[in-house]
Every structure is written in C-alpha cells, then in structure tokens.
C-alpha cells in the first residue's frame, strides 16, 4: 500500500517536473505545429504566388523542417523589422527569414549555423554611368532598411564621407526609386538583383558588378536560451546539405553555382 502510494507520488512528481522542463522543442512537437517567421517581400527567398500563397526558398525550408519534426508548418509573414518582436512575443517559434548572423544581433537572439549565403551585387540606373562598386562614391545610394547590405552600405557611405544613403522599407520601393532616378545605385543580394532586372518590371537599370562585402551568411534563429531547439536546427541545416536537399532547393529557386556554407579555416 505504502509502496504504491510512494510510486504514484514519484510518478506524479516526475510528470510535473517533466512538464516544467518541457522546452521549446517539446512545445512544438506537442502542439503539432511549427510557426515560422518568413519575410515574403524578399524574392526568391520569400514571396507570394498568383494565388497569394507564400512561396520561396525560405517557405520550402520551413516546410522541410516541419516535416522533419513531424508537425504541420505555419508560415507567419513578418516584415524585416518585425522578426524579433514576433519571436519574443511568442507568435512564431523559429525565424526562417534570411537573417544575417551578426554578433550584435546574437546578443539578443540565438542563431544556428548558416543555412544560406548571399553574394552582394551592385545595380545601377543606366543614366548615371556607374559601372562598378567604387563608382558609387559621391552618389545617392540605397538599400532595404534593416538588411545586412543596408548596414554595410551605410557604413561605406559614411567612410567615403561623400554621397547619401537612403534606406527604403521594401525591395520593391528600392528598385522603383532606382528606376525613377531617385537612387543612382543600390546594393542587394545578387539573387534579388538578377531576378528583378530580368523581371522587366523596372526600366533603365542593370546589374553592374559585385559588391566587395564579406559573404552574407544567414541563419535560422530562435530564442537564445533554447539550446535543445538550436541543437536540432543545427543538425537539420547539416542534414539539408548532406541529403542534397539544399542543392535541390537552390536549383529550384535561384540556380547557378551553389554557395558553400562553410567558412574556411575555422570551427563553428
């Protein structure tokens, strides 16, 4: 009698303790739903199709992750500036939002290993005669506010001490301003630049060269203290490459040379 009461007590205690220790990974598995923050104004990583359904590399990546976890994916559209509030207020579980893993940001959120890497390209208005990155000196240049390239370009303009930097809220606004001649040139990810110029939606602009920024590695992110989930995400990124799914998705959405996700000569 006494023994079974004790056992029951121990089991009950274990259950309570177990519940108290459930981490975010458990929460996701338990709820059967994975909510991803995705930026849908950033083709080809995130955008909407004719039927207004979210599509893109990041959307597929989130779906893969949900499938691996055995849950259903829910895409939560979050513009660039709203990624962190969405995570902190518990509206999303994971950010699959082409987020550059800067040290400054890592003080606030937890990043995985890189899952994608961008090269930066300069796109210029044809009338300006800008033909390279250095030619931008002294001109009015712009980029999407809050992105890696915007931060780097603004720093460069300040260093040159000549010319103006203007951040716009969306990629579409940047290219609109560029084709109107309000901006002379912009720096964006080469994938976006190529896709936009080829789309033919904007006249009088062309991709003129590479921007000599460090490769922009982007990572998945979640709460800084969720080691269980971060660990799982790291392995997931690794498996995506190992199984060839990364190459497959890259070919589907971007095409061309597959960027390496490995930084030479250093561990992570």
């Amino acid at each position: 009698m006494k023994k079974s009461a004790l056992t029951a007590g121990v089991i009950a205690a274990a259950c309570i303790a177990g519940a108290a220790h459930a981490d975010k990974l458990d929460d996701i598995i338990g709820s059967g739903k994975l909510r991803c923050a995705v930026v849908l104004d950033f083709p080809p990583m995130g955008m909407r199709d004719d039927k207004n359904e979210p599509i893109g590399f990041d959307v597929d990546y989130c779906n893969d992750l949900a499938a691996a976890l055995g849950v259903t994916a829910e895409i939560v559209e979050t513009p660039f500036p709203e990624r962190i509030p969405a995570l902190m207020s518990g509206r999303v579980d994971v950010g699959v939002a082409s987020t550059s893993d800067t040290l400054e940001r890592a003080k606030t959120v937890g990043f995985t290993v890189p899952y994608f890497a961008f090269e930066m390209a300069v796109t210029a208005n044809n009338e300006t005669g800008i033909a390279s990155y250095e030619d931008m000196k002294g001109h009015t240049v712009g980029a999407v506010a809050g992105t890696y390239e915007a931060i780097a370009l603004e720093a460069q303009v300040n260093e040159w001490g000549d010319g103006t930097f203007r951040p716009y809220q969306t990629q579409a606004d940047v290219f609109l301003a560029l084709s109107q001649g309000q901006l002379d040139a912009t720096v964006s990810t080469s994938t976006v630049a190529q896709a936009t110029v080829n789309s033919g939606n904007f006249d009088g602009i062309s991709v003129v060269g590479k921007a000599p920024f460090d490769t922009d590695y982007v990572a998945l992110f979640t709460n800084r203290n969720e080691y269980g989930l971060l660990n799982y995400l790291d392995l997931f990124v690794n498996q995506q490459v190992r199984t060839g799914r990364y190459a497959e998705l890259y070919e589907k959405w971007v095409g061309g040379d597959l960027p390496s996700l490995v930084v030479p000569d250093v561990y992570r």
């Binding site: 660039f80 500036p81 962190i84 509030p85 902190m88 207020s89 518990g90 400054e104 940001r105 003080k107 606030t108 959120v109 712009g142 506010a145 809050g146 992105t147 915007a150 931060i151 603004e154 930097f165 203007r166 951040p167 716009y168 809220q169 606004d173 609109l176 301003a177 109107q180 001649g181 309000q182 709460n223 203290n225």
Partner: protein, 221 residues
Amino acid sequence: MFDYTFQWNQALARLPRMLDGAVVTLEVAVLSMLIGIVFAMILTLMRLSDSRPLKAIAATWIEIARNTPALLQIYMAHFGVASFGIHFSPFTSLLIGITFNNAGYLAENFRGALKAIPDTQARAGRSLGMSSLQSFRYIIVPQMLRISFLPMTNQMVWAVLMTSLGVTVGMNTDLYGVTQDLNALTFRTFELFAIAAVIFYIITKIITLGARLIASRLFRY
C-alpha cells in the same frame, strides 16, 4: 509567454543618436505647421472668394488632404511626383506630405472658426470706416486664430506623430527612422521603441503644455 531579457544599457548607449533624431522630427513638424498655416489661410480665402475655379481648387485640396491616408500623401510626394521626373529628397517629400495634410485640416479649422464669428463683427468694422480687407485683417483674423488655436495644437501633435511615416520614403534621420536603423543593427526592439515612445510622448506633452501656457497669456480676456 514573453521570453525576453531587457538590457537597457544597450539601448541607452544609443540615446544621443535618438535625441538627434528627435530634433529632426521637431524640425519637420514645426516647418510643416508654419508653412501649413500659410497655405491654410490661402485655402480659406480661396474658399471665401467668388471665383469658382479658386473655390474648386481649395475644395479639392481639402477633400484629398482630409479623406486620404497621410501615408499615401507622403508616398505620393516622393514616388508619385518622381514618375513625372520631379525628385525630392526624403526630408522634402516628408515635409511636403505633412504640410499638404496640415493645410487641409487647418483650412477646415479656420472655416469652422470663421463660422463662429458673427457677421455683425465685420459690419461693425466697416461702419467704423475700415475697408473690407482691413476689417478682415484686424477684426476677423485675430478672432479666427484665437478660436482655432487649440485645434491647431492638436494638428501640431498630429504632425509630430506623422513624421514617423517618413521611413516609407527613405527618411532615416528622424526619430522613428533612427530607431528603426538601430533596431536593425542590434535587434533591441523593445528597449529602443520604448525609448522612442517616451521621447514622442515628451515632445507632444511639451507642445500641449506650451500651447496651453501661450493660450492663457494671449487670450486672457
């Protein structure tokens, strides 16, 4: 569940830049009010005039300014006019957009104030030998400004808050633009925007209190 540790020192270190932004915000708001009042006066006079085209222009301006979002007006002042080859800097675009909006609202305020002044006032002026312009200038306008003074402060507060829409046209030197820049850099969203909110609150509070003080001095009788 709200899982976040506030680190105020990280955000407070950027306070000087935010205060510089607050100055720009105030600059835009004050300029847009001053120019807006001038335009509002002109619009009011146009509405009072006997010329149909002038009336129509004023009515159209006021209708658009009051019945479309300020965001649209600012966006148009940047991207809209650019499709005709006219380029304004973000600062100018924002200023034009808010001024356009201010003028429309203020013109309506002025019209309401004019309606509140009995016709007999102007006639009393005329009977004292003033010309119609003089009686308008010395009798009607001062009373009009007095009646519409507090609604004008309202618009001033609104102008300060509208500056936050400048980010849509590439503005990054005003308080909201600076805050958003810093947010992208650090991801300290909650601290930075909380500080920005407090600064906005202080600015508008100073404006309303200052206006009340001025009103109690100017309009004692």
